[in-house]
């Protein structure tokens, strides 16, 4: 599992590559923690190469979203594949995230 965070066109972009299972979750959460400090910028989570996600990963996503919304920011999901979208659908996460 590889996590990259970069700024792009005034937005914070997190690029996730690999399987975000329970084992990978602590590390990924740590890697994405800078996003919690973002002020006044929208956040894009690029899931184009995210192959797999379990509830541990979803919890990280929810944490980032709640934090950003608390500051008036927005979180977008980008390039989500069919597998991950299925999990988002099952858990109702498609209702709370915006997709681009």
């Amino acid at each position: 599992m590889k996590t990259t965070i970069q700024e792009q066109d005034g937005k914070m972009v997190a690029i996730l590559v690999g399987s975000l299972d329970t084992a990978a979750a602590p590390e990924t959460e740590k890697a994405m923690s800078p996003l919690n400090d973002v002020e006044g910028k929208d956040i894009i989570i690029d899931c184009t190469e995210l192959e797999y996600i379990s509830s541990a990963g979803l919890r990280i996503f929810l944490g980032i979203l709640q934090n950003a919304q608390g500051k008036g920011g927005q979180v977008y999901i980008k390039g989500i594949n069919e597998n991950v979208r299925t999990i988002f659908a099952i858990t109702g996460f498609c209702n709370i995230f915006k997709f681009m």
Binding site: D21, T22, Y52, S55, Q69
Partner: protein, 770 residues
């Protein structure tokens, strides 16, 4: 009272009449007998007079037997001295007086007021041959003749007479003639009949042969005897009378003559050999008595009628206020409650009654008002009850799974309340390849029971959502219900959880009837005797378990079945339930719906037209899962370290590929198993303590099954509450997602604690296409 007085009065009167009649009767007897005696004496005296006169004449005649013309003087003086004699003859033997020729009879007879004496006897009247002449000659003593007609040549008339005749003898004792003195029978008859004791009484006289000499019907005289009539119409009474009179007896007989009752008094008439009788009609004897009786009766009748009239007048007068009250009551009864009552201003009982009636009317108006309100309330309540009944029945499951719906279990149930709403309940639902079911019976009936039933049913649902073990479910339900049970109601309850993949039944019985198992024979499921739910909050209910084999039906019921009563209050009883179940099993008709229908029919037949006495509830559950052989089995043992998750995922992916799931399904199964195993890794063992998680995978033609086993503390992930996926990001909680994903991604998820192990089973159907 009036009637009894009248009866008493009439009875006394009746007795008086009876006594008076008796006295009158005796009086009549005496009177008639006296008259008869007197008449008889009179006749005797007349006859005596005839005999004495005849004797004296004979004495004179015998002194002067040589002076023929003297005979005319003697004969004439006889009638002159006795004007009531009819005639007198002094007749002599032929040629006794030679100068007078062959015939000499000095014959004297009354003609009008004068007396005529002639010389009787001629060739045409040879008196020597008449009875009156021959009888004394032959008998050689004086005698009375039978009546005969005396023919008078001069006037050419004849008269019925009876004669006293005696022989005239010369000094040598030779018979030379006969003195004959006659009495007119007609005159005698008039003499006898002259004295009448009663206006319609009459006399009769008969001779020795029974011939009538005196009779009111003159055509009968000498022509008929007393026996003539009896020849035509046998009349023993008349014959007896005839014989008695002929024998010269005296007495009295009551006889029926000419259509009337008559008293007949009879007595012989001295030497004549005749007998006389006085016939007195009974009506005459009792005439005055009857008149008296009729008069008194009339007076009594009029008196009674008057009494009746006055009674009616008095009663009418006294009762008039009552009648008016009754009329008013009628008006009130017809619904006009404000009708005004008459005011009598009386202080007697009727006044009191009127007063009470007024009070009653007021109470009635008040009561009717209340009744109207109550009726309206009752209508509301009834309507509420109907709605409640619908709601209550709506609470119960309506759709029953059959063989077409499921391949592991089929179920049917029926509930018939005795009233609109009842206290019986049943419920079932599926969770995680487990069938949760319960049946219960609340104490009592009607609305209170139905409310308690609703509470019980919702408590069952709430508690069983988080608990999978029946003993825990019942214990918690008991505590919850007992805490809020102020009315000391209770419910007998049977709660079961059937593990559908294995057929393992866990159950807890709280004072309910033990269910029947209908499979390999019919038998009761052994049940602990726990107490019913609702009164001892601290009671710890026991858990029991049993293996249900494929094809076996569990038959649950409430006591409304065993205690169903026919018209004679005889109960259906367990024995009949067993018989019906055994018959159903024998005919292979023990599928849930069939079994319940047969049981229902049997109960209806037994009960007949009797009213249903208690709620009747039945539920039948048949386990029908066919176990199929596993095609493949794999397992992996991992330590309780989340870093092992990739190995797990690789294992799951491998299994899924073997089965042939597509990418999406594989991913979903992978996530579900990961969530399940991570749960165990995180929570089963205390932090820092090593423990293993055993994951077994197996599949057959229809299902893939993962069994996750650990030896950690008991932990049932299936009882966590569901995640609400419709909430906003802000409202959503971190956590609870794992179990949600497991449920969503797998077809079933099932937890069991077995032999100190947590056993979690996840199943996924295999789609034949894949």
């Amino acid at each position: 009272m009036v009637v009894s007085a009248a009866i008493l009065f009439v009875a006394a009167l009746g007795y008086m009449f009876f006594q008076a009649r008796d006295a009158v009767y005796h009086e009549a007897m005496n009177r008639a007998t006296q008259i008869l005696d007197k008449t008889s004496l009179r006749v005797d005296s007349i006859l005596n007079r005839v005999e004495v006169a005849s004797d004296m004449t004979r004495w004179l005649v015998e002194r002067h037997t040589n002076q023929a013309d003297s005979m005319f003087v003697y004969s004439r003086s006889m009638l002159e001295n006795n004007p009531d004699f009819y005639n007198c003859s002094v007749a002599f033997e032929p040629y006794y007086f030679e100068e007078k020729g062959r015939y000499f009879s000095a014959y004297t007879k009354h003609v009008g007021d004068s007396i005529r004496t002639i010389q009787g006897g001629s060739d045409s009247y040879q008196y020597f041959f008449a009875d009156w002449y021959l009888m004394p000659k032959l008998l050689d003593r004086p005698c009375w003749t039978e009546p005969y007609f005396d023919y008078d040549v001069a006037t050419n008339t004849s008269e019925m007479v009876t004669s006293y005749c005696q022989a005239i003898k010369d000094k040598r004792g030779k018979m030379i003639g006969v003195i004959n003195t006659s009495l007119s029978i007609n005159w005698l008859s008039n003499t006898i009949s002259a004295v009448k004791p009663y206006p319609h009484s009459y006399s009769i006289m008969i001779g020795r042969g029974g011939t009538y000499f005196v009779h009111p019907d003159s055509t009968k005289i000498t022509r008929q005897t007393i026996f003539t009539q009896t020849l035509e119409q046998p009349d023993t009474a008349m014959m007896a009378l005839g014989y008695a009179m002929q024998r010269g007896e005296s007495g009295m007989k009551l006889m029926h003559l000419d259509g009337k009752d008559n008293y007949v008094f009879y007595k012989p008439l001295g030497k004549t050999g005749c007998s006389m009788a006085i016939v007195c009609p009974e009506s005459d004897i009792f005439r005055s008595f009857d008149r008296l009786q009729n008069t008194i009766m009339g007076i009594v009748a009029v008196g009674l009628l008057l009494m009746l009239y006055f009674f009616i007048r008095i009663i009418t007068f006294e009762l008039d206020p009552l009648r008016r009250l009754a009329t008013e009551a009628e008006t009130i009864a017809s619904g006009q409650f404000d009708a005004e009552l008459p005011d009598f201003q009386r202080v007697d009982e009727i006044g009191q009654l009127s007063h009470s009636f007024g009070n009653m009317q007021q109470s009635l108006v008040k009561y009717i008002d209340e009744l109207k309100k109550t009726t309206a309330q009752k209508a509301t309540i009834e309507s509420d009850l109907r709605i409640a009944s619908k709601i209550q029945l709506g609470m119960l499951p309506e759709k029953f799974p059959t063989r077409a719906d499921r391949d592991d279990v089929q179920l049917f149930a029926s509930l018939t309340p005795a009233k609109e709403v009842g206290g019986d309940l049943f419920d079932f639902y599926f969770r995680d390849e487990k069938l949760f079911f319960c049946i219960g019976d609340v104490s009592g009936k009607g609305v209170p029971a139905s409310l308690f039933m609703a509470v019980t049913r919702s408590t069952f649902r709430t508690v069983s959502a988080h608990e999978s073990m029946p003993d825990r479910i019942v214990t918690i339900m008991n505590k919850t219900i007992a805490d809020m049970n102020k009315n000391h109601m209770f419910v007998t309850l049977f709660v079961g959880v059937l593990d559908l993949p294995t057929g393992r039944l866990h159950y807890c019985n709280a004072g309910h009837d033990a269910p029947l198992l209908v499979g390999a024979g019919v038998g009761e499921l052994p049940c602990d005797s726990n107490i019913p739910v609702g009164f001892m909050p601290q009671w710890k209910f026991s858990l029991q378990e049993a293996q249900i084999f494929t094809g076996t039906t569990i038959f649950l019921f409430t006591d409304g079945l065993t205690e169903a009563m026919d018209a004679n209050k005889v109960q259906f009883q367990m024995q009949r339930v067993n018989e019906v179940a055994a018959r159903a099993l024998e005919n292979q008709q023990h599928e849930p719906r069939q079994l319940i229908e047969q049981m229902t029919e049997a109960v209806h037949q037994f009960v007949g037209d009797a009213e249903q006495s208690d709620d009747l509830t039945m539920m039948a559950i048949q386990y029908i899962r066919q176990q199929s052989d596993a095609k493949m089995q794999k397992s992996i043992v991992l330590p309780n370290d989340i870093q092992e998750v990739p190995q797990l995922n690789a294992f799951v992916e491998d299994v899924c590929q073997t089965v042939g799931f597509d990418e999406i399904e594989t991913m979903k199964i992978k996530v579900a198993v990961e969530e399940a195993v991570v749960n165990v890794m995180k929570y089963a063992y205390p932090t820092g303590q090593h423990g293993d998680v055993n994951i077994e995978a197996a599949f057959n033609d229809t299902r893939l099954k993962f069994t996750i086993i650990d030896s950690g503390k008991p932990f049932d992930p299936t009882v966590q509450s569901a995640v609400d996926t419709s909430l906003s990001a802000k409202e959503r909680k971190i956590g609870g997602l794992g179990i949600h994903i497991m449920r969503q991604n797998m077809d079933s998820i099932n937890y069991e604690r077995m032999n100190d192990l947590n056993v979690l089973t996840l199943r996924k159907k295999i789609n034949k296409k894949s």
